[in-house]
């Protein structure tokens, strides 16, 4: 074993190739991958799903399963080749020297074991320390990950903690053995934004405190910017560009990196004047990779005869610190050329009010026991006095974290639930207490929904065409089967899918294509209002842009009102006209996009804005981390719903926040905030996001 005085690179991967073998052929998952992680350094690994970033991590752990095999290259950990180690040697290193944090916290914790026991196991196995010492260490680490009341936490079972707390325990578990290298595989993807921000904060601080090197795997460029020192961009099994954060973000030298940055909504992008640029084409399947450059077929700078000739090696960029690119033409490309002038489109005129929601309330009664209904009943206040209007051709974004009541609002609008109180006026008709079965076809077809999960939105055992035609049938469109088929093909044209997709099964489509079919289905009955429930959040970055633009285009054409439910403030800022921020069933702030994204803010909006990672080095953010967890809707705090986590609470005199729900306060025309803060205090607020002058 090496001593602690080792000062070379912690992890050194050279020309690593990993393949998976099936009965018929070999599937290369990672090819010619090299990287170096120095002590205390954080390395970010970015790429879309299927690019091989997780395979690299598993390769480092030597845990590739029965089909996977390292077919070339070396992985050196503190100078020792991991490929040549025996299982016993590996077992000593795993968990002790290299620790890994996975995406799903619940899946990494043993549900039948108390947290304390799981934490204590690590030093007891690896270092053979006594039980008491292990307990002390566990207590220390749990305090380090900023969990309240560590003793109680140690005595709890995993299911008694929230998702954010579980992930902190997983981090604590990884840190118990004081490892030299920490591998984080999308550690925050399953968490809410504000919780994510807190977890990222902990990871960053602890990395510094313990001097741990990190390999941070993520698809989110903003998150990498916040946490890492260096970055490696992967595409289709290869590293395409690697370098320091500053070099890669500001002086990218690979067309894929550039395309990736152009397809994500950064502050400054605008849906009409500076739309996102989607990467054309599709991600190549591992066994259908092109010859030469893998990105060639989708690249703007592709030159046949050069890029499709032979394998391309990483090439160093002179003048930068270990900045390399896998591109033959990076010296010829003018990297500072402005984005090719996109066709500027006219914004659709915002029309009359089509939907008016007034004092809407939705309460659920939850019986204490399902069998004996006379038990104590609890009331879940999912929506509390919601009031807003939506106009024709307008995009109203509904923002909030899980449990804020945005999905309940969607259900009530669609008629899947009826309102407890209040009014929903749709086409001059009150529909708040009409369940969907009693709504007439015109009403049903005019309010439709686009769902979040592309893998779930289509019935897997019905062809794409049949599903759209069923919607047409139900809405009474088209007199005959052939007329409906014709209309269905036109709808496929509308969402830019080839017509022969009509006879395909959903499993033959990619995520983005499925989402397009979902959009076509929603527009089957010429919907006036479309509720889009996080329609792109489950898609890869490069596909997100294309689907978002499609939605916008259809909206402009059909003058549809779009209710865009999202937790991603970057995309909301990019595409919405007005924004409504929800917290625990309340609308805490509503206003035009500019009004909501600039001060004065509601304290919750302020925290949300600060939590969203932005992939732009010129942006500086005010640092606000929310303490604690979102309270349960079963047991909301008295007074202001946000008072338990609000950092401005002390500025309201007389403990008003604890006692009274704040009134809705008009700040400017169309801008309303539900807060007790005085006007002077609100006026003192500074912008959370500042873009440095260029």
């Amino acid at each position: 074993m090496t001593t602690d005085t080792y000062d070379g690179p912690i992890l050194e991967i050279e020309n690593l190739s990993i393949s998976f073998f099936t009965r018929l052929f070999e599937i290369p998952a990672v090819m010619d991958f090299s990287t170096k992680v120095m002590p205390g350094e954080a390395m970010g690994l970015v790429g879309e799903s299927g690019c091989g970033k997780s395979t690299v991590a598993l390769g480092v752990m030597q845990d590739l399963g029965v089909n996977g095999r390292i077919v070339g290259g070396t992985i050196k950990f503190k100078g020792q080749n991991l490929n040549e180690m025996s299982p016993q040697q590996l077992a000593r290193i795993r968990g002790k020297e290299i620790a890994m944090i996975y995406q799903e916290p619940m899946a990494s914790l043993n549900p039948a074991m108390k947290i304390g026991k799981q934490l204590m196991e690590v030093p007891m196995i690896h270092e053979g320390v006594s039980e008491r010492e292990a307990w002390q260490r566990a207590l220390e680490v749990v305090t380090d990950v900023r969990l309240p009341d560590p003793e109680r936490i140690l005595d709890a079972y995993p299911h008694q903690l929230s998702g954010g707390q579980q992930q902190r325990i997983v981090i604590a578990l990884a840190l118990m053995a004081n490892p030299s290298l920490l591998i984080l595989d999308e550690p925050t993807t399953a968490l809410d934004v504000t919780v994510e921000a807190a977890v990222v904060e902990i990871v960053k601080d602890l990395g510094k405190k313990y001097g741990t090197s990190m390999l941070f795997i993520s698809h989110n460029l903003g998150l990498i910017l916040e946490t890492c020192d260096r970055i490696c961009v992967m595409y289709s099994g290869e590293a395409v560009e690697t370098g320091s954060i500053a070099d890669v973000f500001d002086k990218m030298r690979h067309p894929y990196t550039q395309a990736l940055f152009r397809s994500i909504p950064l502050p400054g992008a605008d849906k009409n004047s500076r739309p996102l640029v989607a990467i054309p084409g599709n991600f190549p399947l591992p066994n259908e990779r092109p010859r030469g450059c893998n990105f060639g077929p989708r690249c703007d700078y592709f030159e046949s005869g050069l890029c499709d000739e032979s394998d391309i090696r990483m090439d160093t960029i002179a003048g930068d610190d270990r900045h390399e690119s896998r591109c033959l033409r990076f010296r010829d490309i003018d990297w500072d050329a402005p984005i090719r002038a996109a066709i500027e489109v006219e914004k659709a005129e915002i029309g009359d009010i089509v939907l008016k929601v007034d004092n809407l309330k939705k309460y659920y009664e939850v019986a204490a026991s399902a069998l004996f209904s006379h038990g104590e009943k609890k009331v879940v206040k999912a929506n509390e006095t919601l009031s807003f209007v939506a106009r024709e051709a307008e995009t109203l974004a509904i923002v909030g974290e899980s449990g804020c009541g945005k999905s309940t609002l969607a259900k009530v609008l669609m008629g899947l639930e009826t309102a407890t109180d209040g009014q929903i006026i749709l086409n001059n008709k009150g529909v708040e207490s009409t369940p969907i079965q009693e709504r007439d076809t015109a009403t049903v077809s005019s309010v439709q929904m686009v769902f979040q999960n592309p893998f779930d939105t289509l019935n897997p055992s019905m062809t794409v065409g049949r599903q759209i035609m069923r919607a047409l049938e139900v809405f009474g469109i088209g007199k005959s089967e052939s007329a409906r088929r014709q209309r269905m093909l036109e709808l496929l044209d509308l969402v830019k899918l080839p017509r022969d997709f009509a006879d395909r099964m959903p499993r033959q489509l990619s995520g983005g294509q499925k989402q397009r079919v979902g959009i076509a289905r929603a527009f089957a009955g010429d919907a006036k209002i479309v509720v889009a429930d996080e329609p792109v959040s489950a898609l890869d970055v490069s596909v997100q842009a294309a689907v978002t633009d499609l939605l916008m285009e259809i909206q402009r054409e059909k003058k549809t009102t779009l209710l865009f439910i999202s937790h991603d403030l970057s995309i909301v800022r990019y595409l919405s006209d007005r924004v409504m921020v929800m917290y625990l069933g309340h609308v805490v702030e509503i206003g035009s996009t500019d009004q909501v994204f600039s001060p004065p803010y509601h304290p919750y909006t302020e925290a949300l804005l600060s939590a969203v990672p932005i992939a732009d080095t010129s942006v500086t953010k005010e640092h606000i981390v929310l303490e604690g967890e979102i309270p349960s809707a079963m047991d909301p705090p008295p007074g202001c719903p946000f008072q338990t986590r609000c950092r401005w609470k002390k500025d309201v005199p007389g403990g008003l926040c604890d006692r009274e729900v704040p009134p809705i306060k008009k700040i400017a025309d169309g801008h309303h905030i539900k807060c007790h803060l005085s006007d002077e205090k609100l006026a003192q607020m500074v912008p959370v996001i500042k873009i440095a002058a260029e």
Binding site: S445, Q448, N459, M462, V474
Partner: protein
């Protein structure tokens, strides 16, 4: 005359070969075991520079190869026996194995045709086609199809009638010649011997396949229809209805099955009409199922409802009335109408008596005992199916496509039958195969206890029971039906395994 030998003229050559192969197999197995205890392992794959994989064979690999080839040798011998039996002339040359395989000729042809066609077109046949990528599934499918073809071609295969008695052949050993067969126009031998009454064991086994394979799948199908019709709304709507049905299902499951069967065949209970009432309820559910299935799908197309859905449902309803109540509304209406018009003359008297005892034109005549068996099997199996369906529905109803159907205003039954049920089909098909196996065993058990089925029936269960009494002296009568039962159930289980594996790969 002497009984014919088991292996006929091929025996002297093939028997030693087979024996050698079996010995080799076990020797290799033992050596392999010893080597693996000694810590020797299979060769590691070597990755070549051109990204292919090769192996360097070690001693362990050689033993494995020896085991593999000895299995192939045994299989080859069996194939030669089968072909030899078909091709050789004369019963003495064929031997018992050859004779039996020659009788199964239609089954062999059917099997070969099925496999050749299925493998040829497997890429176009969906899940069924994918079964042919899986060795286990193919073996299971082959075993099941063997018995299905046997049931179909039973009269061509059987050498004698199922209840034909040749009293001289009582308890005769396999291969015994039938005295005076040529004169009476009978088949010359009892291939698998005779039972205690002098009936041909082979023929009874073949006809038994027919009995088993008609009742088991149909009863299972009905159990599924009932389970699905109740499980879908219970899972989808939940609430009190769910609580109630689940409770009833638990009650049924908690009741001892065999006791239930004994109760159902008790004469008092039969006379009280309990089985008929149960049949009335259980058989009505599939009719309702089909109607709701069609109605919910074509709700918006009145033409299809009028010309397809209503006629199909009415036809099923007639079938239901005829089968369960032996009631045919057409015959009943005409006879009573004519009888009413011409009261007091002989024609009308005849008409009115006919009204009381007639055979319904539509309806499957089911023997009273069989109806009881049928009802009992459906009754016992449907709660389990109900619980599987309910569990699947609870999972699938949270999917977005179900929400999408709700938001376009689909009715609950459309969602249950067309959005949820098709996506639950994987586990249900697998369970269906397994459940036919259980039902077959259940029927065998019932036959063994002499419950419900005709004592003369060649049903495998009852045949095993009959042979039980003289088992120590004459083991040959109960063995063939027992092996048949085992191979059918094994085939169904393997088929279910194969289907499960292949449906997961999607």
């Amino acid at each position: 005359m002497e009984p014919i030998t088991w292996s006929g003229s091929l025996g002297p050559f093939l028997n030693p070969v087979m024996l050698a192969a079996v010995v080799l197999f076990f020797a290799a197995f033992v050596i392999n075991l010893v080597m693996s205890f000694a810590g020797m392992r299979q060769a590691e794959p070597i990755v070549n520079p051109d990204h292919t994989i090769s192996y360097r064979m070690g001693p362990v690999d050689f033993t494995l190869a020896a085991m593999k080839y000895s299995v192939f040798a045994v299989l080859a011998c069996i194939v030669i026996f089968i072909l030899g039996g078909i091709l050789q002339p004369g019963m003495e040359a064929k031997g018992i194995i050859g004779g039996v395989s020659a009788r199964f000729l239609p089954v062999w042809i059917g099997l070969v045709a099925t496999f050749v066609l299925s493998i040829r077109y497997k890429r176009r046949l969906g899940l069924y086609g994918k079964l042919f990528d899986n060795l286990i599934g193919m073996i299971g499918f082959g075993l099941v199809m063997f018995w299905i073809f046997t049931a179909i071609f039973a009269p061509m295969i059987a050498t004698h009638g199922a209840i034909d008695v040749v009293s001289a052949m009582r308890n005769d050993v396999p291969g015994s010649p039938v005295p005076g067969a040529a004169a009476d126009g009978l088949f010359s031998h009892y291939l698998l011997g005779g039972d205690a009454l002098g009936r041909d064991v082979f023929s009874r086994m073949v006809f038994g396949a027919r009995e088993v394979l008609t009742i088991a799948p149909v009863a299972t199908l009905f159990a599924f229809m009932v389970g699905i019709t109740l499980g879908l709304p219970a899972g989808y709507m939940g609430g009190r209805f769910d609580t109630l049905i689940t409770f009833v299902a638990n009650l049924v499951l908690a009741f001892p099955v065999i006791l239930l069967f004994y109760l159902l065949v008790t004469p008092e209970i039969v006379e009280a009409g309990v089985p008929v009432y149960m049949a009335a309820v259980l058989f009505l559910l599939p009719v309702i199922f089909i109607w709701v299935l069609l109605y919910s799908r074509y709700r918006n197309q009145p033409g299809v409802i009028k010309w397809v859905a209503i006629p199909i449902t009415l036809a099923l309803l007639l079938l239901y009335l005829g089968t369960v109540f032996e009631f045919d509304p057409f015959v009943w209406l005409t006879t009573s109408f004519i009888g009413y018009l011409n009261q007091g003359n002989p024609v009308s008297d005849w008409m009115l008596t006919t009204r009381e005892n007639y055979e319904p034109l539509v309806g499957i005549p089911i023997d009273g005992n069989l109806l009881i068996v049928f009802v009992a099997v459906v009754f016992v199996n449907s709660p389990t199916v109900f619980r599987i369906v309910r569990g699947l529905v609870l999972d699938i109803r949270t999917r977005d496509y179900v929400a999408a159907a709700q938001t376009r205003g689909e009715g609950p039954w459309y969602i249950m039958l067309w959005e949820i049920l098709p996506n639950a089909r994987g586990p249900l098909i697998v369970d269906f195969c397994l459940r036919i196996g259980y039902t077959t065993i259940l029927l065998g058990t019932l036959g063994f206890f002499g419950l419900g089925v005709d004592p003369e029936s060649p049903n495998w269960g009852s045949t095993i029971n009959e042979g039980r009494r003289l088992l120590t002296i004459y083991p040959h009568p109960p063995l063939p039906p027992a092996l048949a039962l085992m191979s059918l159930v094994l085939g169904l289980n393997l088929l279910a395994d194969g289907l499960r594996e292949e449906s997961l790969k999607d």
